[in-house]
């Protein structure tokens, strides 16, 4: 009942607003339509100018307030190229933005209708058209050139000495696999997947699998200044390995293997200093809609020195040992890395 009353009141308010606005219409007719229209016209021209000025101030204010919340300096070699390109593009489009918006609002104000003004019949000018076809074309060509240079650099095959890490998405966490001592990842078969003791469907007849290390907490370890190649896959639906601090992204597609390589240049510890944030962590955010838990599909990246990496690696137990060396019935299905405690465990405990 109260809902109905509220709706009735709202309707009434709008009817009243309409009636007031309508009354102003009658007043217009009484005061002389032509005169009022001239006044309104002048008012609107002024309001557009005011809007433009306030808008430009808003742009400035917005920038001032948000610039500190942007990403820190790129943590990968590849990201530096992105940052430079972003800068070039912002400057280029920024100039066009200010120039065209200024012209738009200035023309609106400057050429508002007055009694003595008549418009200038100016229907076409091929020279002008040619100029403003050519200039954007050249500008675009240069952006394409810069962009593709970077694009081909980052999509080129990974250097042969790159570390290899496999990262597999599932609803809603990441599973990471390292090749172990032999440096080779063994075969996977989705038909062999079993959440109890073979989360990736590793084919145990493939000897390359026996020393592979699997981490179900979505934590990727990388060595600073050493290229790392990610082999990306998915167990169920589409996911995407989004690594904002490294300016990189690649889809995980079931049935298809995608790859991505990068060279991290700043360790997690150093980034904590740079950002003055002791809790800083490189995060992997899923960037392809994957279902209800999409927003919680989080992974992390630890960038460390070679020594730290080696020390960590030495502690890891191959998944084959973990999965088959202990009774499978006790295996826990660790669902993701949402909690800090889980992040601390380096590989999933199967005990």
């Amino acid at each position: 009942m109260s809902g109905l009353i509220i709706i009735a009141l709202i309707v009434l308010v709008f009817v009243i607003i309409y009636q007031i606005a309508k009354a102003s219409e009658y007043a217009t007719v009484l005061r002389g339509e032509a005169k009022v229209n001239r006044q309104t016209n002048r008012l609107m021209a002024w309001l557009l100018v005011v809007f433009f000025i306030l808008g430009m101030y808003g742009v400035w204010e917005c920038h001032r307030m948000l610039i500190d919340k942007m990403l820190p300096v790129s943590a990968s070699e590849q990201g530096v190229g992105y940052d430079n390109m972003l800068k070039v593009t912002v400057i280029m489009t920024g100039i066009v933005f200010f120039a065209t918006q200024a012209l738009l609002f200035w023309f609106a104000f400057r050429y508002q209708s007055t009694e003595k003004r008549t418009s200038f019949f100016y229907a076409h000018n091929n020279k002008l058209e040619l100029i403003w076809t050519t200039i954007p074309a050249i500008a675009m060509a240069s952006l394409v050139a810069v962009g593709l240079k970077h694009w081909f650099a980052v999509t080129a095959p990974a250097p042969p000495d790159a570390n290899i890490v496999e990262i597999i998405g599932k609803q809603f966490n990441w599973i990471v696999r390292y090749p172990g001592q032999d440096g080779a990842l063994g075969k996977r078969d989705f038909r062999k997947i079993n959440d109890a003791n073979n989360v990736l469907g590793l084919d145990w007849t493939d000897r390359n699998n026996l020393d592979d290390i699997v981490a179900q907490n979505g934590e990727v370890h990388m060595v600073v200044n050493k290229p790392v190649k990610l082999i990306i896959g998915s167990r169920d639906v589409l996911h995407d390995v989004g690594m904002p601090h490294f300016r990189m992204k690649m889809d995980a597609v079931p049935g298809i293997t995608t790859t991505l390589w990068l060279t991290p240049t700043i360790t997690t510890a150093e980034m904590k200093r740079i950002t003055k944030n002791p809790d800083f962590v490189y995060e992997i955010s899923c960037a392809e809609m994957c279902g209800n838990g999409h927003y919680s599909m989080r992974g992390t990246i630890i960038v460390e020195t070679q020594e730290e990496y080696d020390a960590w690696m030495a502690k890891q137990v191959p998944y084959h040992t973990l999965a088959n060396g202990t009774p499978a019935g006790n295996a826990t299905d660790n669902e993701g890395a949402e909690t800090p405690e889980q992040q601390d465990t380096e590989t999933i405990s199967m005990r």
Partner: protein, 606 residues
């Protein structure tokens, strides 16, 4: 005077004459049902599309209010949401399932039902016959069918909102395998089936409409209306229809394969999937194939949304600048350029799917090429306003807003079209900001401009100006306040389609900004009711139009009676003698010469 004006257009009138037999009357009264519901009059069908579009816009907009409440205030509860959404917002807190359903529906509704059907359905129907000098569409019956197919699609989509497992929730692009597998998400059950049925009906509606628009424009122009004398609205609507007719069937084929995968066990899009505790038998499909089929429509679709606005803005800018549109031919050529390129850029939505880098580079080149015809259009609009004599009608304000937003949204497209920037910006709020400004708000501004401008032709009354101006300024300022800061969030890497950011170390610094955006969203949403009240009340109580040509425009729709009947013109259809933008001294103190005025001796045709 007989109003039985349909007599010389017998073919058009057949169907509705069959419905009743009152030829002898002075006033040819139609039964309510044939006049307002199963009407074959293009003007009535236009109004049907418009009103349905407005209803959908309110529903779709309200959804955005709900999910913005969640995004802006993730730790608060809003009991009012439980009133509206029941189980889905227990205790006033939106569930993730329904959050994703709302986002999906918001996108589907706004993109297809409002900005495709509601926009080009309205204005193609209203303006094509009136501006080219035809009594109706080539096939009024097919035209009626087009609306009713859309209505059926609407009903099915509306029903899907109420099914127990909720509507489709995999994003408006409904990528498989998420959308193909019931195990993957609640919304991929019956909700997704209904979504696919609704969209199939929608495609049929769109094709019926589009074919009609094209054949009407090509075949039914009045005497003297050569193609190069058509107003730019008609050119824009022609290319809109061409885009739709050529790309919607591809979308439908994508949907058919998806239906096969969902129900008949085929593997077009599915391969090597382990879900719900078991491995599925599908092998050899490609999830990426769907994306190619989807975006082959999906990209032209954004031009289907933009072109009508461009056409109407051109027309309104010229009329209210009292000055011809600058570079009429350049405008047509740029429309051709945009239309052709629209078909060649779809894979720029897929740079990070692992596609061949070489293929990616081709799509970068073609995508950035679109900036050229777009820039030409902007410069031509600006030059149209240069040394003009501008009247700020409400429609003109919205047309200026359209250009401003088109510039802002277009420039950010240059970022996303460049694959090496997309590598980081893909699926972040930068994308959300970009496409909302350009094909959301900008297209809406084109639509509002069109409604305020042609309302007198639709209903013989004016909309209220005061409310119009208020609506304009709040909406324009609000649009920038909402979407401008989102670019920053996107550059900071904040992914879209997240229900809650508070667990993320990298994105939780934007909490207060998100709240701010949500507050502005609510204000802007409720401001739209000023427009809706204005629209519906002015239909009945607006100031009456007293002259045939209230804006002093040159095009043919303003030569019809104030309230044109079915058939549009009493007596002969006017003959066209000149191009549509002759805004110059006619020698009698007027600053325009309508298209049906013969050339004076010695006067050059344009």
């Amino acid at each position: 005077m007989s109003t039985n004006i349909v007599s010389d257009a017998a073919s058009i009138a057949q169907a509705h004459h069959a419905g009743h037999h009152d030829h002898g009357h002075e006033h040819h009264e139609q039964h309510f049902i044939w006049k307002y519901i199963f009407s074959q009059d293009h003007k009535m069908i236009a109004k049907q599309f418009l009103v349905t579009g407005i209803i959908w816009a309110v529903i779709g907009g309200l959804m955005s209010v709900f999910f913005r409440l969640q995004l802006g205030f993730p730790d608060k509860t809003f009991p009012i949401m439980e009133t509206f959404l029941g189980e889905w917002a227990k205790g006033g807190k939106l569930s993730p399932e329904f959050y994703y359903a709302l986002v999906t529906m918001h996108g589907t509704i706004l993109v297809f039902f409002v900005l495709t059907a509601g926009l080009s359905g309205t204005f193609a129907n209203l303006l094509i016959p009136l501006q080219i000098g035809a009594r109706d569409m080539a096939s009024p019956f097919m035209n009626m069918l087009s609306y009713w197919m859309f209505f059926a699609a609407s009903i099915v989509m509306f029903i899907s909102l109420f099914v127990e497992t909720g509507p489709a929730s995999g994003g408006w692009t409904t990528y498989p395998p998420l959308s193909a597998l019931k195990e993957a998400s609640l919304g991929s059950g019956i909700g997704m089936d209904l979504w696919l049925i609704s969209m199939a009906l929608f495609v049929a509606s769109s094709l019926l409409g589009g074919l009609n628009y094209i054949s009407t424009i090509l075949n039914m122009r009045t005497k003297g209306m050569s193609m190069t004398r058509m107003p730019l609205t008609i050119w824009a609507l022609l290319f809109t229809a061409v885009l739709g007719v050529l790309s919607f069937p591809v979308l439908l084929s994508g949907f058919v394969l998806l239906i096969f995968d969902r129900t008949f066990g085929t593997s077009f899009y599915l391969s090597e999937i382990f879900i719900g505790g078991k491995a599925l038998p599908h092998i050899g499909g490609s999830a990426i194939l769907y994306q190619h089929l989807f975006w082959f429509l999906g990209h032209p679709e954004v031009y289907i949304i933009m072109l009508p606005g461009m056409g109407m803005a051109s027309e309104i800018l010229s009329t209210n600048s009292r000055k011809p549109i600058f570079g009429y031919f350049a405008m047509i050529i740029s429309l051709v350029g945009i239309t052709v390129l629209a078909f060649l850029v779809w894979a720029h939505h897929m740079f990070v799917t692992g596609m061949s880098p070489f293929l990616g580079s081709i799509f970068v080149l073609l995508t950035l090429l679109i900036a050229v015809p777009s820039a030409v259009k902007v410069f031509n609009w600006l030059t149209t306003m240069w040394r003009a004599n501008i009247r700020f009608t409400v429609a003109m304000m919205f047309a200026i807003g359209f250009v401003s937003l088109f510039i802002s949204g277009g420039l950010t497209g240059i970022f996303l079209g460049n694959s090496s920037l997309d590598l980081h910006l893909h699926d972040t709020y930068f994308v959300v900001a970009h496409f909302h400004i350009i094909m959301g708000i900008s297209a809406f501004f084109g639509m509002f401009a069109g409604i305020y401008h042609w309302f007198p032709k639709m209903f013989g009354r004016y909309m209220n100006n005061t409310l119009g101006y208020i609506h304009f300024f709040i909406t324009l300022a609000g649009a920038y306040l909402i979407f401008w800061p989102m670019h920053y969030e996107g550059i900071a890497g904040m992914p879209r389609r997240y229900y809650d950011y508070s667990a993320w170390e990298s994105f939780n610094q934007f909490t207060s900004l998100n709240s701010f955006i949500s507050v502005v969203v609510i204000i802007v949403f409720f401001t739209q009711f000023l427009f809706i009240v204005n629209f519906f009340m002015s239909m009945f109580w607006g100031r009456r139009v007293t002259t045939k040509n209230p804006w002093g425009a040159t095009t043919l729709e303003w030569t019809t009676p104030i309230n044109p009947g079915h058939g549009n013109w009493e007596g002969e259809i006017p003959t066209v003698h000149r191009w549509p933008y002759d805004y110059k001294d006619d020698g009698n103190g007027n600053d325009f010469i309508p298209q049906d005025v013969p050339l004076k001796p010695g006067e050059d045709a344009h």
